[in-house]
Amino acid sequence: MEKIKQNAFVKKVGFNRIVLIFVLLLMYLAFGALTGGSFFGFSRIMNTLNYVYFLGFLSLGVTFVIATGGIDFSIGPVMFCCSLVSGYCLTTYGVPMAPSLIMSILIGVLFGVFNGYLVAYWKVPPFIVSMASMNIAKGIAAVFTKTQSVSWPQSTTDDGWYRNFINMNGIPVGLFIFLGISVICAIVLNKTKWGRYILCLGSNEEAVRLSGVNVKKWKMLAYIICGTLVGVASIFFVAAYTTVQPGYGDQYNNEAIAGCVMGGTSMAGGLASISGTVIGVFIISLLQQGILALGFTKEYQYIITGLIVIAAVYSDVSARRRRN
């Protein structure tokens, strides 16, 4: 019987992360070459990082959900709902900045509770909950802001300090925060009871239930963690891009899932890698920048992302089939 190898660094993850890092570097060099070197500029790096931050938090969040064997593709629209609603309160109702930021996160948490409750306690199929949530989020945002876009304050204003989350006098604070929270996520997933239960119930829910664990509670928790991270993502989105428009957000669903699945997290549940997700997010962000740099429009980004996810999930599916 073939033993399932377990190299310390590769540890149970489908895709070898070393391979991924190579892919990342290769891509970077390829784009650089194709653009005659202009790809290596400072502003390009900044743009990529801006994309990494919010997408990264979305990806981290959805990693927890996929670890339970579920899915959440409402994350993009929910992120927008968070920044639209709290931004509207900020600009129109005069709510101060700090509470607005907290509200952003809380809206994400609320959606996480909603999604998690329906999936864990009522056994509604995750894809239906996602579909419903996605549209409810879009609807709430549009109704709240009367279908208008919302612009968050510029860095030069009094309230502009929130932009320091991204960078402060040239220091990429955002990167530290993102990596820091990634480390926390990795610790939670791999070293705490929460993470242990989430991963195990994703692998074999009934065995965990028969061991006396309240699986419903922990499944719902995964969705709440996701919602919280989506709320955080919304802050980084507006800090980078200022203006949010209702009705959008869908593309980020796929990209977040792409980053997650590429990094080795299995759609079947039970196997998840935070570091893989982080690398995956960098790859997706770089890809996006590269496509733009080469003069293609974002439509090509959609197509390529879609194909990447298909490839990543298929390799996971066939790896599982071979193992059985």
């Binding site: 894809f127 579909m131 949530s133 109704v143 796929n254 599916v317």
Partner: protein
């Protein structure tokens, strides 16, 4: 699971949905005198065409226990391509219609292969195709909005399938006849042909169907091809009822179609569903879409309500299953 016949040929669930439709029309008519006018009726029907077509098609993947999330962005994409061919390439409308539907079928085959042959989870596979089609349309057409020929132009004849404007300017929505014919045809396919029979069988017990010697791969793929075909047709309907088609639209259309199907009795777990049910369910969704503004709720409330209705419909099914 009750399949009892209520009024003559109407099953219990369908009768209930019909009652809901009547109740909704009554409610809106009472609350808003402007609702019960002829232009409103026409406007309601205008919306039903493309959504009904989507719902008729997506009923098939849903009955197999899967889903097709690519129909929304898909139909807009196909319509874009068709319109592009007319205006940028000077092709006749007939060719555009054929290409529009043809693309739908093509993507349907792609979806079928992903789900039935490569064994990818349906929601993820079609979520990816959703992204791919979202990019495909604009990528092929340069990213601009297009309009198909207007009704007064020489080529505008195709619009007459849906709306016939008499010399005096009265609008006759003959599209409704077209819909009823399609409902009849697809009901026949689902209830009385092997295609429909095996689709239900696959959703009911895939393994037993395979053991009975049925070529399940073929019929499983076919379910998605049907969905794609109708998405293509929906693209034509969409182009015929709206003036301009913008790229980037379409996200969320599938909620209306899938929501309608589920309200009408299609089960998310497969094996159950009727074409008439999906049609009636779609009418409920469209009534909500058009009716809500008349009672003072702007259009975006519809998204929220549709999401809630979808979850409520699924919960009803979950509760019923628990009772059995």
């Amino acid at each position: 699971m009750a399949n009892k016949k209520a009024f003559g040929k109407l099953k219990g669930r369908e009768a209930m949905v019909l009652a809901i439709i009547v109740a909704m029309i009554a409610l809106f008519s009472i609350l808003s005198p402007t609702f019960r006018t002829y232009p409103t009726l026409v406007s309601v029907l205008d919306n039903t065409y493309y959504i009904t077509l989507m719902a008729l098609g997506v009923t098939f993947p849903l009955i197999t226990g899967g889903v097709d999330l690519s129909i929304g962005t898909g139909l807009v994409s196909y319509a874009l391509i068709g319109g592009f061919l007319i205006f940028q390439k000077g092709m006749p409308v007939g060719v555009a219609i054929a290409v529009c539907i043809g693309f739908g079928v093509l993507i349907g085959v792609f979806n079928g292969v992903l789900v039935a042959i490569m064994d990818l989870p349906p929601f993820l596979a079609t979520l990816c195709t959703c992204m791919i089609t979202r990019g495909l349309g604009p990528a092929l057409c340069g990213g601009f909005g297009v309009s198909w020929p207007s009704s007064i132009s020489a080529d505008g004849g195709f619009r007459k399938i849906f709306k016939f404007v008499t010399a005096e300017g009265t609008v006759i929505p003959i599209g409704i006849v077209f819909m009823i014919i399609l409902v009849a045809i697809m009901s026949f396919v689902l209830d009385h042909t092997r295609v429909g029979r095996y689709t239900i069988a696959i959703g009911s017990n895939k393994e037993a169907t395979r053991l009975a010697g049925v070529n399940i791969k073929f019929y499983h793929v076919l379910a998605y091809v049907i969905s794609g075909l109708f998405a293509g047709m929906a693209g034509v309907a969409y182009a015929a009822t709206y003036a301009t088609i913008y790229p980037g639209a379409g996200a969320g259309f599938e909620l209306d179609a899938i929501g309608g199907a589920i309200v009408g009795g299609v089960s998310a777990s497969g094996g159950v569903g009727t074409i008439l049910g999906s049609f009636l369910g779609v009418i409920v969704i469209c009534l909500m879409k058009v009716g809500l503004p008349f009672i003072g709720l702007q259009a975006n409330w519809q998204q929220i309500f549709t999401g809630i209705v979808l979850i409520a419909a699924v919960l009803v099914d979950v509760l019923k299953k628990k009772k059995d």
